[in-house]
Amino acid sequence: MVGELSIKGVTKRFRREGEEDVIALNGVNLNIKAGSFVSLIGPSGCGKSTLLRLIAGLSDADEGELQLDGKKIVGTSYERGLVFQNPTLFPWLNIQDNVAFGLKVRHIHRQNKSLVKEYIKLVGLEGFEKSYPHQLSGGMCQRASLARSLVGKPKVLLLDEPLGALDAFTRMNMQDELLRIWKEENMTMIMVTHDVDEAIYLSDKVIVMSPRPAKIEQVIDIEMGRPRARSNPDFLQYRSKILKILNFGGNVEDISYYI
């Protein structure tokens, strides 16, 4: 299986005019197994989106190295697909042409026409091939952008809060869809999220990050079978554990009782 990521001592700074550099990532080491589902979670400013952009190749590390299947990551590639929070579908293309975009710019569209159809079906958008993005709902657009990234068969799919803009019900629905697609496609998925439940529900590994300086706080393996019930005691335990790391646990021990 392909799609193994290794991140070694990666540091990223942002230069500011006349002020001290901001350290967006500080010596991050991380190994992500091929075919696993990993979530990056943490408060804003903890560098999770920066890490994702580094993996995508949209920006370069100042120190350290990122490798995909033992090859150093330089620049962007269709091997590392990216889905943003806003679907960023191209508004001038209909759904079918949006999904086909990657194949077209790589000049492999002609021999893969059926693939476009297949992925539109996979995300449940049959019948909307000729619609334009502005005619679809947010959830449907997000499905379409998922199909657009999947159709090129990336080794790793990077998801930057892909469900953040959706309402709660659409969101839970999409989480199941995402799991189904992940199982079918056998690819590595790395997702940035703010939602602890979402992270536990989906992931093999939850990576908790902390800000100032941005670094990995703890890596938690979620050892639960799928499908996972959100009310399962194990689920709740993982939940309180992660919240505690993020300092949202509440000081349960400190509560004193007056008699």
Partner: protein
């Protein structure tokens, strides 16, 4: 009377009103004798125009009972058509019927419409000359403008060198180049073509480049993670995303090209609609001047409408950047 019946009556009034206005104008035109101080037209062309429009609108009125969409349009346009004809009526009364306006500068409608018929061969020839000049100038200006706009939008080096030039030279009205152009170009035609091209080039360049620099960065980023190279980023993402701006530039360019055309034809052109108007003005033939202006107005608005039709086709995905 309930509101429904009331609105039905107003609808009917709106439908009939154009015909009523035409008949009213026709009656005044036939009954009031022409003022003696106006030179006589060789025929009552305005009367013919009124008869023809009466027949046309009567036919449309009848058709509106069978076609719902025709009826809706007629109801919507009813007041305007009636008003426009009323305006012609008033002009007619002020000129040939009463000679209240200076006779030399405000010829009778009979003579203006007459020119369109008697002088049609020369006007058509002039129009074809103008359209040839306009299309060559417009197309070269638009193509070069789009190319330079894309180059400025995507290349920092091109932007560094070209943007200041565009900023300084662009706002100069292209007609101000006439003295220089007359020296540099071998013929009046090539000089005028150049002026029109410059007039189109500037707004097209500015709007294209600003359109490209306004494209959301995430579009480019997503396209890169989908495997788009530099060329694909330019032509598959930047250009289509900047298309609405481009059309805005082309629209502005079209308008200034009309202005430039009419002025440019005054510099030693042999034929051309701008030349025609200017020449007739010097001959104090104001009926011909107005006829020329009518032709210019009709043709230019047809051209603008065409441009917008193209835009609507291309920008199907985006509804109405600017309304026309």
């Amino acid at each position: 009377m309930n509101t429904n019946a009331k609105s039905k009556t107003t609808d009917l009034i709106k439908e009939v009103l154009p015909c009523v206005s035409i008949v009213f104008t026709l009656l005044l035109q036939l009954m009031i004798p022409d003022s003696a101080s106006h030179p006589q037209a060789d025929a009552h062309y305005f009367t013919y125009v009124l008869w023809i429009s009466l027949v046309v609108w009567a036919l449309i009125f009848i058709l509106s009972f069978f076609r719902q969409n025709v009826r809706k349009k007629l109801i919507y346009k009813g007041y305007f058509i009636a008003g426009a004809i009323l305006f012609l009526n008033i002009v007619n009364l002020l000129t040939v019927k009463s000679a209240l306006l200076p006779v030399l500068y405000f010829p009778s409608l009979d003579r203006i419409f007459g020119v369109l018929i008697t002088d049609r061969q020369l006007i058509l020839k002039c129009l074809l000359y103008s359209i040839r000049l306009l299309s060559v100038g417009f197309l070269s200006g638009a193509v070069i403008g789009i190319i330079s706009g894309i180059a400025i939008g995507f290349s920092k080096t091109v932007s560094y060198w070209l943007m200041p030039v565009v900023r300084v030279l662009g706002p100069i009205p292209s007609t101000a180049w006439i003295p220089l152009v007359l020296v540099c170009f071998p013929s009046a035609v090539s000089a005028s073509t150049f002026l029109i091209a410059v007039a189109v080039w500037f707004p097209t360049t500015i709007m294209t480049s600003s359109g490209i620099s306004n494209v959301q960065n995430s579009y480019f980023e997503v396209s890169r993670t989908l495997g788009a190279g530099k060329l694909a980023q330019i032509f598959e993402v930047g250009v289509p995303a900047a298309m609405p701006h481009m059309f805005l530039g082309l629209f502005n360019g079209t308008c200034s090209s009309f202005i430039t055309l009419v002025t440019a034809e005054m510099i030693g052109a042999k034929y051309g609609i701008g030349w025609y108007v200017n020449w007739q003005k010097e001959l104090l033939a104001y009926a011909n001047v107005y006829a020329g202006l009518i032709v210019i107005a009709v043709v230019f608005s047809i051209l603008i409408t065409l441009l917008f039709k193209v835009r609507d086709k291309v920008l199907l995905w985006q509804k109405g950047v600017i309304k026309w």
